[in-house]
């Protein structure tokens, strides 16, 4: 290698460093920091037994076996929950999907009023007033939606409001697959 070509290669060094950094930033800065994998995937639902709303049936971990279903964690004080709610109602009514609700850190009266005004897609609702069951699920915030398989294991977690796209492209195909 002549000294001349060596010099040329050295000139390329800043550009190479730039490319490497650009690649790092492209990976590091474009990811969504809220999309973190759940540690509960493929683990059984944490054990719990929650009272219901307004005299309705409560929800316990033992109820979550034998059938593929969704567990939706919501609260009346949570605005994105209102956004996704019509979709849940449609899923329960039109697609016949079993959805259970966990009212996270919410007064039962408020949760009930929320369901009275927006419709109730839930087969049963458990009231998690102190948020402990939420923590056992590894909840970051509301809303979150969990796909539970027939054995009562958590198979998927969706963070944030469910949109039609998430439902059609991810959740529904997964439910169909798990129901086989």
């Amino acid at each position: 290698m002549s000294p001349h070509t060596k010099h040329r290669l050295l000139l390329l060094l800043p550009f190479t460093i730039f490319l490497v950094l650009a690649a790092y930033f492209a990976i590091g800065l474009t990811g969504d920091p809220s999309k973190l994998p759940s540690n509960m995937i493929n683990k059984p639902v944490p054990e719990f037994a929650l009272p219901g709303l307004d005299g309705g049936p409560g929800l316990a971990s033992t109820d979550l076996k034998g059938q593929v279903r969704l567990v939706n964690i919501f609260a009346s004080w949570c605005a994105p929950c209102r956004v996704e709610h019509p979709l849940l109602v449609r899923l329960a009514r039109e697609e016949g999907i079993t959805i259970h609700g966990i009212a996270y850190k919410d007064k039962p009266v408020d949760s009930q009023a929320f369901l009275d005004s927006l419709g109730n897609p839930y087969t049963s609702v458990g009231s998690d007033r102190d948020g402990r069951v939420g923590i056992n699920f590894g909840v970051y915030g509301v809303p979150e939606t969990y796909v539970i398989d027939k054995e009562g294991r958590i198979r998927y977690r969706h963070v944030g409001p469910l949109m039609a796209y998430d439902m059609d492209e991810v959740i529904l195909p997964m439910l169909r697959e798990l129901a086989k």
Binding site: L36, K105, R132, I135, G138, G141
Partner: protein
């Protein structure tokens, strides 16, 4: 009179100690609310240490000890409950990582998938060191082995002429100075 001074001295000593202790103990009052604190100071200190290791999942770059988020508060209370129930510090951390994964730990544990993170800087340092050593050795080698080209006959005569010239210059200047 002497007794008065003695007691004054003692009092001020006690006062200063109290002040020092108070300022030491109360210095970092972040997000932890008084009603969350445990009555046992040793237990509370352990709880604070554990809380500093745990990431607030809502704000992500704060520890639960620093964060005002609701979930951080709930986790702080949970940490204290586990301690009161007799868990060791490790058990409390394990309890939280079981639910939230290693991401909840502000200090990433050394595991197969974090090995690049932990060993990376040392690998880079090693490579840089090797590179520098190699470069320096080669340069020294180059300097030692490089031979200057021989002068041509023409250059030789020119050089000799210059040297002679210099010699006569000196000779001329010598006596006149």
């Amino acid at each position: 009179m002497k007794r008065f001074f003695c007691s004054l001295k003692r009092r001020s000593a006690i006062g200063l100690t109290t002040l020092a202790l108070a300022s030491l103990l109360s210095a970092p009052a972040f997000a932890v609310m008084p009603d969350e604190k445990l009555s046992d100071p040793v237990m509370e200190a352990r709880a604070r240490d554990i809380s500093k290791e745990l990431r607030c999942l809502v704000c992500q770059n704060q520890s639960i000890d620093d964060s005002n988020a609701d979930l951080a508060r709930d986790l702080r209370v949970l940490v204290r409950e586990r301690l009161v129930a007799g868990d060791s510090d490790q058990q409390v951390l394990a309890y939280v990582t079981d639910r939230y994964g290693d991401f909840v730990l502000l200090r990433p544990p050394v595991k197969s998938y974090t090995i690049a993170l932990w060993a990376g800087p040392f690998v880079v340092l090693l490579l840089a060191g090797l590179g520098t050593a190699f470069y320096l050795r080669r340069r020294r080698h180059e300097v030692e082995t490089t031979t200057l080209p021989e002068l041509t006959a023409e250059e030789e005569t020119r050089l000799q002429a210059l040297l002679d010239d210099l010699g006569t210059d000196k000779g001329q200047r010598g006596p006149s100075a």
